[in-house]
Amino acid sequence: MCFAAALIAVATSSRAQRPAGPISDTTQIGFSSVTKDSALEARTSAVASQLRCPICQGLSIQDSPSDLSQQMRSLVRDQLAAGKTPDEVKAYFVSKYGEWILLAPKPSGFNLLAYALPIGVVVIGGLGIFVAVRRWTGPAPEPTPGPDPAALPAHNSQPQ
C-alpha cells in the first residue's frame, strides 16, 4: 500500500511538474504500473480474504498479522502476478492444506449441510415460535358451564 501510495505520489508530482508537451513514456509507464499494482493488490486481498490462517482462530490470511499469513499472502500475490486465476490459487492452497483452508467451504456434498442447517434451524424455530405465539394469543377457550346453582344444595347463608 505504501509502495503504491509512493508511486501515486511520484506519478502525481511528475505530472504536476511536467512541462507542456506530450506525456512522456516514463509517466505513462508509471501510471500503468500503479494501476496494475492496485489491481493486483485488490485481487490479492480478495483471494487472501477467503483463505484461513493456519495458525489463527478464524482469521483470514488477509487479516492475520502472523508471519506465515503474510508469507502466504505474498505467495498469493506472486501466483496472481504469474497469471494464475483466483480459483487456481485457491486450488493450490486446498491441495496443500485441504478444504479446511477455505474460510467458506464449497457448497457441495456434505458441505451443503453447513449452508442448509442454519436455514433449517431458522425455519423450524420460526415455525415453533409462530405456533407458540398463536397458542398464547388465540381466543380464550369457551368457559365450561358450571353446575346449575339451583341444583346445588342450599348453603347455610342465613342465620338461623
Binding site: 508471519d67 506465515l68 502466504m72 505474498s74 505467495l75 496443500k96 492444506y97 485441504g98 479446511w100
Partner: protein
C-alpha cells in the same frame, strides 16, 4: 408420558449431545493433511548448518529433492524458538546415524527463523548429525502444507510423501516408517 413430546425432545437433544461428545474426543488443532500419498513438492534449499561427518554437506550447498530420488528422505521442519523441537532433536540426530550407508537422507529445514539463530541453537543442543537448510519466505513449508513446527515428512524412494508426523517425532515411529520404506524399495543390483 407424552410420546410425541418425548420424541421431539429426543430429536432436538440427541444431535447436540452427539456433537458435544464428538467435540470432546476431537482435537480442533488436529487437522488432517491432504499431503500423505501425494508427490513430494520439489525443493532446492541452501545448507546453512552442515551437520557432522559422515552425513555432512558443505555450507552453502544446495539440497535438491530431485537429486535424492530413489532414496528415502526424512524432511524435518524445525525452528530455534520451538520448544517441542528440543524434544525430538537428539532423537532424530541419533536415528539419522543408524542409517549411515543406507539410501536414507535426513534434512532439517529451518522455519520462520534466521540461520544464525539456527546455528546457535544446534550448537547449544550439542550438534546435529545431518544438514539443515534454510527456507526463505517459508515457500517450501507452505508447499508441504505446514501448520507449525515440528513436522516431519518421510518421502519414499519414488518421491511420494509416505508419512507425515505432526509434533515431536519418536525414534520408534521414524525407524518403523523408514524401515518399511526401505523394505519395499527395490535395491540396486550389485555390479558384477
Amino acid at each position: 408420558m407424552n410420546w410425541k413430546r418425548a420424541s421431539i425432545a429426543a430429536v432436538c437433544v440427541i444431535p447436540v449431545v452427539g456433537l458435544f461428545i464428538y467435540g470432546m474426543h476431537h482435537d480442533p488443532r488436529d487437522i488432517p493433511s491432504p499431503m500423505p500419498g501425494k508427490p513430494a513438492p520439489a525443493f532446492a534449499l541452501e545448507v546453512f548448518a552442515p551437520g557432522q561427518p559422515p552425513l555432512q554437506r558443505p555450507m552453502g550447498d544446495t539440497v535438491r529433492l530431485a537429486d535424492l530420488r530413489g532414496d528415502v528422505v526424512v524432511l524435518n521442519f524445525w525452528a530455534s524458538w520451538c520448544l517441542s523441537c528440543r524434544d525430538e532433536h537428539v532423537t532424530l540426530s541419533e536415528v539419522a546415524k543408524t542409517y549411515v550407508g543406507k539410501p536414507v537422507h535426513f534434512v532439517g529445514s529451518l522455519y520462520q527463523d534466521t540461520p544464525g539463530n539456527g546455528r546457535d541453537w544446534i550448537a547449544q543442543m550439542g550438534g546435529q548429525s545431518y544438514p539443515s537448510v534454510q527456507d526463505p519466505h517459508a515457500r517450501t513449508a507452505i508447499d508441504y502444507g505446514l501448520y507449525g513446527v515440528p513436522e516431519t515428512f518421510i518421502i519414499s524412494a519414488d518421491g511420494r510423501i509416505a508419512h507425515k508426523i505432526t509434533g515431536p517425532a519418536s525414534a520408534a515411529l521414524v525407524s518403523q516408517v523408514v524401515d518399511s520404506l526401505l523394505a519395499s524399495t527395490p535395491q540396486p543390483k550389485a555390479a558384477p
